[in-house]
Symmetry: D2
Subunit: 346 residues, 4 copies
């Protein structure tokens, strides 16, 4: 598995299992001279933290981050920033019951086939807990984007069939209570908006900005779809309905509408970047399911423990994190697009 | 723009503008010893070729491929395979009228901002013609996948509001005729199925197989959304509805359903890989649109010329190509997942 | 600085400053199923450890490694292996005297220009202490290479003018004593031999095996030259003197001599891989030197503290580590060279 | 073989065999807006061209380059630049005699082992002819470097035992005549100087500037050693002899000497970058050699045909090309080192 490194200039490597000693990230290529403290990171960690309501896992983790390198006198030095989060709650629960069972909706079987065996404790590397490291790295990216005037905000678009359009999902609580009662779980959609993007970011033809964001967001466990602007609705429109017409304002070509979601031909067009991610329902449910174990026996399981009946609220900051990591990398790469830019340095 | 290279082991670089001298691809990392002829590539080129019906562009291009290197005695040698397609139909049309105009739905303005100027002839590098090089490279990947028992097929899922589910879209013709009459265009959805995938392909956490396919497909101009399995519908299901239960057959853990679209935790699960791509309506329409030019003047345009009223039929083979390139690369990377595999060689 | 990540399949990221909280490495793409313990790593760490003789730095560091992830039930899982070494000896020495001075032979000035400021405590990231993380990652690579029958051994070729050809450098001690007496330092040459290499490893034309090893070894601070086989002496030979003639033995084409150093055309040729690295004398010397400070003033400095009068003995294991990381990566990449190999999996 | 792509931002892919249809390069990430003509490239091609004296191969190739994409109105557009050189002189010589023989000093056997078979015509991809594509790409890099005030010049340091220090090697002619008479060949050393380098270029710890240049130059066939500054001589000096002291001039910290070769800690230090490459004697010699063929039979060969008795003069421009490609890539990457630089754009 060589897929835990991401990025071209602003690079991130993550590590860590659900019930291992620690999770963390190494960030390479972070520009020097940016003020950065543990608090800048902790604030996003706390948004993702388990145990904040009855609709998310009750696992008690403080998720305190430590910065091991790359920051000196309160500023990034340009050298790799290592961030580590020690797991406090590696409870000694006996996993032998599920060690050999392939939970439906989980990658247990895939890991066994790919690697020959797996760390079955709490899902190991395929646990949602892995996203803690993404959020830590994303917080660093977000700090730098802030210096450049770029802001990223995601929110719950819907849970199940219920439209939300904010991060207050109290209107979905009756539905979620019903899910909990049934030992079931819910999914939803997260929408994300990037404001303040300069025009011209994105690297056709394979590294289009929307393609790269899509990959980064798709790499979050449970994401099953991504769409920009009108997305799948675009496919039903005609060209004249879908095209965003241009007009001039303040010496800039602006779009009257934003069906494109802020990206044209894979390059940021100056409008807000807007996309949505479909998040499947938490696969760990206490409702009885039929499945098989490693030995080929049919078994019934009921997954109890500390699982989110809905993962969508906690996914919001993870979507922001992956977007921040990607957008920052592309901003740095994009500086070399034209020689007049390059000459500014030399 | 450093985004025209893709892949880790099976690498592809493409080049070429709509009205430049030639388009092409260089493929590096192609395993040696595979029988490969120009015909293997031409067959896919012909599926993408313009001029095959009144619903696609009438531009006359034979799109004959030439292999310049990397094949000897009818077999790949393991060295880079260069494929070139010379543009025959660089007509001498006067582009001065549109050279300074920002066509709605196109990346003209983005290119000007990013690079300072652009090759405006027929859209330059942002033209759909760029995909010819993708199809050529994809045909090579497909040939190798064939040797490994993996098969990729895409088809039209829908055009506008009309369900198709095949590559015969005659039921959509009245709608398309209407679009043409109105000087307008249509979009649609392409669905793609990968059969014969071994279990265990995909590199968590960032290079999940679905994430990588999503990026590759999103990099095709006009794609605005990608979803796997139940996709956005997943988000509305409960866990018990969405989870695919396992059973055993022929000593293998199989899934009763395929809501996951063949990927769990970013790793192929042995089912068919199934995904859909939303394709926006062709932005070039003859219907009058208001826009601006480079000098900030408001102008009206009606884009005439050889444009597809619907790009979906020709996108089918491009979706297959990008999928083939990605899946093959991941198959080659995946060989190193466990030491018992690695020992097979040494 | 985005240069702390290395590798294509077997990837390594390192982090850490001389006087920061910790150093470490994240290894991604390590094949699953390899037995790995802390001891496997510690044994190489101890070979590099400071304080082992009067000719190397007296800094007291136990360099105890901790594995934070990627190992379960004593075996690698295929997920990222994070290794951390906490700095114990971040002594509270006052660095203000050298914080602004550009030490000759050091990168102080370069870091200030590149990043705007630097972590001046003990050289920060440009300290030789950074190599601890390389050795940790190299030990993991070496463990896997061992499973594949590949063995890497380096030794001191020379110190100053004195030929050594082993890791016992007692014959150089009078020279080193003289250096210490003069407040001066010595350099030398390390030779490295890779045994058991299969034929066919290396990826022409840019990723030739010797080119990649050269880069990896050159990336060790203080290395100023690398040569394979006869190296610079090759340049003085004629073709008939330099060419290694082939003969057959045990159904294999073997070479009568090894002037090539085990690599022909960038591909391993089945002979031992043999190369040498020239290591400059430790730049930190107590002998008085004239230099400048940040404010442009001419100053004299005498660098006291815990510096190696000769770094060559401790560089031996670092050269091995970088070679191991590179060779393993290329072995894994090389499996995809021909279709008959690839078919072994699928 | 996935090793024919190089670079992070300024990326190059090359292709082509000695006796294939064409050689060429695709350059991605070239900044837009740089004036570029075929002549800019041809001038370097002509410096490398065969047939210019009796000491280099007599193969008649005009090596005329064609630019297929990426240039519009005489300027780079930021899209991939494809350059192709058609082989004119694919003579119909019967290669059957050498098709199965492993020529000493050549990679024939390595290719057969790695790929299962090889294009034996004139060495295929392992021919020195492959460097034509490098020179074409290097010429583009050099053009851009020129805009940034960076200049690269290489020259012959020595041929055999004879010091040259220029590109006029007439003093070596008696030695070369002797080689020719004996059916033998000679090697030598090329020295390269990069002038006008800004301080601060290079990406520690693995992508140090000298390490990257070393790899790029080592990737040229026949290079067996690379050293910077005093190189292997460094290893014999003491610290006080080797360290370059700093002084101030024009508000800049300058070095009194340049033993470092312009790189400290992997970062350019403002002095000229100076390095040397050892080039082995041409392995193709008419003098009789004993070797084996594929079937394990011992055979004698005398390699006749159009071979350079000394490759050093033609290697000069290839060394420059690889240096230019590398240095430019690092200049573009280095722009993101500090936040105050990044802010210049946004």
């Amino acid at each position: 598995m060589s897929g835990s490194f991401i990025g071209s200039i602003f690079k991130v490597a993550t590590f860590g299992e659900s019930h291992g000693e620690a999770l963390g990230a190494v960030i390479d290529g972070c520009p020097a001279g940016v003020a950065l403290t543990v608090d800048d990171i902790q604030v996003d960690m706390d948004r993702r933290k388990p145990g904040t309501s009855k609709y998310v896992t009750k696992r008690a983790e403080s998720d305190k981050v430590r910065i091991l390198s790359g920051v000196f006198d309160g500023k990034t030095t340009g050298t790799p920033i290592a961030i580590v989060i020690f797991n406090e709650n590696q409870n000694s629960k006996d996993y032998s019951a599920i060690a050999d069972v392939y939970r439906p909706g989980h990658a247990d079987m895939c890991y066994d086939e790919k690697y020959g065996f797996r760390d079955y404790r709490g899902g190991g590397r395929s646990s949602g807990r892995e996203t803690a490291a993404r959020v830590a790295a994303g917080a660093v990216a977000r700090k730098i984007l802030g210096e450049l005037g770029v802001e990223i905000n995601a929110y719950i678009k819907s849970i199940g069939d219920i439209e939300i359009n904010s991060n207050d999902y109290s209107t979905a609580e009756p539905f979620l209570d019903e899910c909990i009662k049934n030992g079931d779980s819910a999914g939803g959609v997260v929408e994300c908006v990037v404001r303040g993007m300069p025009i011209g970011i994105g690297e056709p033809v394979f590294d289009k900005l929307d393609a790269a964001i899509a990959k980064a967001v798709f790499s979050i466990g449970a994401v099953k779809g991504v769409e920009f602007g009108c997305g799948f609705k675009n496919a039903k429109l005609t060209g004249s309905e879908n095209n965003d017409e241009f007009y001039f304002e303040n010496d800039k070509a602006m779009k009257k509408t934003n069906n494109s979601g802020g990206v044209l031909g894979g390059i940021s067009d100056g409008s807000d970047i807007v996309f949505r991610a479909a998040i499947k329902p938490t696969p760990s449910i206490s409702k009885k399911q039929t499945t098989v174990n490693k030995d080929g026996e049919t078994v019934e399981i009921s997954i109890t423990g500390r699982h989110d009946p809905v993962i969508v609220p906690r996914a919001v900051v993870v979507v922001e994190a992956m977007t921040a990591i990607t957008v920052l990398d592309f901003l740095l790469v994009g500086m070399a697009s034209k020689i007049e830019n390059v000459k500014k340095f030399f």
